[in-house]
């Protein structure tokens, strides 16, 4: 599960270019990740120029719900 910080994401698309699963998409306002298709390779995290992506663990996910 990749977490997006929408306050940091600048919609530049660099993460999409390295994604092997093609599970990310963008519109003019938001970045989307299809977590079912995501292979959790985390390549996107390392290229984000603003550090908007992070690896979310399951405990955090449960808290968010």
């Amino acid at each position: 599960m990749i977490k997006i910080n929408p306050l940091l994401c600048d919609l530049c698309g660099t993460c999409l270019s390295v994604c092997p699963a093609d599970c990310m998409s963008l519109d003019e306002n938001r970045l989307y990740i299809d977590n079912d298709a995501c292979t959790h390779c985390e390549l996107c995290i390392g290229v984000c120029p603003f550090g908007a992506l992070s690896s979310g663990n399951e405990k955090e996910q449960a808290n968010e719900k």
Partner: protein, 392 residues
């Protein structure tokens, strides 16, 4: 927006607008779809290019040129530098006006232009024309195209819809951050590059003046040799140290593919251009002119294909052939130089600057610089000479 066109161009950057314009000029019906609400905004680019190069592809408006530069300064990690007098006029563009006007030139050739038009998917089925699914100002629509030209930038998703592998390796991507700074102490006619493994591992910082006291300042590093800091953190460090009194008026993220061109830039009913096709100079990261070149080539081939009624990969491969011959082969040479420069250590940069800094700028050339940089690699020296003899 109609439900079918000869050519659908996805993305209104320089490559997309050039493709649209040239396809329409030769008689095709063309729609140009831009996801953002305004063409040319945000500016995800360092904005510098060469005037003579640009004039090959378009008539030039004075309003695009915010500054003309005649000198380059290359700064090593120990602050030693090499000054070079540019052999051609360098210009710093206003990409906001530039991108808008390139799309406007296309519109004047009859291209329909839509912003806030987000292409979510293109359905390619054998024996059928592709169907472009687009959301235009919140309304979902489908457009049937004879040819789709994917100019969708670094993310390059449209090509993936046709099964083309566009995923870029870490070694071939540069995360970037860029600021528009006011109140910087600079020399207006000199662009500057800063190198160093702490500063920008495998990449560089650029300082491109836009006036006496403002500049486009940015940074890109090679993702495969990251030092754990984001592009923004690296840039903030540089700016705080170098220009402590500067005001950042804009801060933008970006990514530059520094790869060889994709193996496949055509498929049945599809051509890929610009950053989406990885048509960026892999050494410098410059992509304005090569994107425009590719757009023009693809637009013309598209119109010809429409005229003949043959949109097969075989017909569209004429674009690939022209690209490979005119630009792609040069990019492969630049890629080999990149392979070498990415590995340069701070000591290498310092030694090089120490060796070359006594040479007066008017006697210094990029050719001389690169020959010195790759002196231990005879095969690369040969590449460098070939490259520069092509350019000159």
């Amino acid at each position: 927006m109609k439900s079918n066109y000869d050519v659908v161009v996805v993305g209104a950057g320089p490559a997309g607008s050039m493709a649209a314009r040239h396809a329409a000029e030769q008689g095709a019906s063309v729609v140009l779809l831009e996801r953002d609400r305004e063409i040319g905004v945000p500016v995800r680019c360092a904005e510098a290019t060469a005037l003579n190069g640009l004039s090959k592809y378009t008539e030039i408006k004075e309003s695009w040129i915010t500054n003309t530069v005649s000198k380059i300064r290359l700064v090593a990690p120990n602050e030693k530098y090499v000054d070079i007098t540019l052999p051609v006029d360098g210009i710093v563009l206003n990409r906001r006006l530039f991108d808008h006007d390139l799309a406007a030139y296309a519109a004047m050739q009859g291209v329909e232009v839509y912003t806030k038009a987000n292409v979510t998917k293109v359905i390619f089925k054998e024996g059928k024309l592709p169907v472009v699914q687009v959301t235009h100002i919140g309304v979902a629509k489908e457009i049937t195209a004879k040819i789709v030209i994917a100019a969708d930038g670094v993310e390059s998703r449209i090509a993936r819809c046709a099964g083309i592998h566009t995923q870029t390796k870490y070694y071939d991507i540069e995360p970037c951050a860029q600021m528009f700074l006011e109140g910087v102490d600079i020399v207006k006619e000199r662009i500057e590059f800063y190198f160093g493994t702490e500063l920008a591992p495998g990449g560089y910082v650029w300082v491109f003046p836009k006036s006496d006291s403002s500049a486009n300042v940015g940074l890109g590093y090679n993702a495969s040799i990251s030092n754990g800091k984001t592009a923004l953190q690296l840039l903030e460090e540089f700016v705080h140290r170098k220009y402590p009194n500067a005001k950042a008026m804009t801060t933008v993220a970006g990514g530059v593919p520094v790869a060889n061109t994709l193996k496949e830039i055509t498929a049945d009913n599809l051509m890929i251009v610009g950053d989406a096709a990885r048509q960026v100079n892999p050494m410098s990261g410059g992509g304005i002119l090569s994107g425009m070149a590719a757009g023009k080539m693809a637009g013309r081939v598209a119109a010809k294909a429409i005229g003949r009624g043959d949109y097969s990969k075989k017909a569209l491969d004429e674009y690939k052939k022209v690209w490979d011959k005119e630009v792609g082969s040069e990019h492969r040479k630049y890629y080999r130089i990149k392979d070498y420069t990415v590995k340069m250590t701070d000591k290498d940069f310092n030694d090089l600057a120490g060796m070359l800094s006594p040479i007066p700028p008017e006697k210094m050339s990029l050719l001389r610089l690169f020959k010195a940089a790759v002196k231990n690699k005879p095969s690369l020296v040969f590449d460098v000479i070939k490259l520069f003899s092509n350019i000159a």
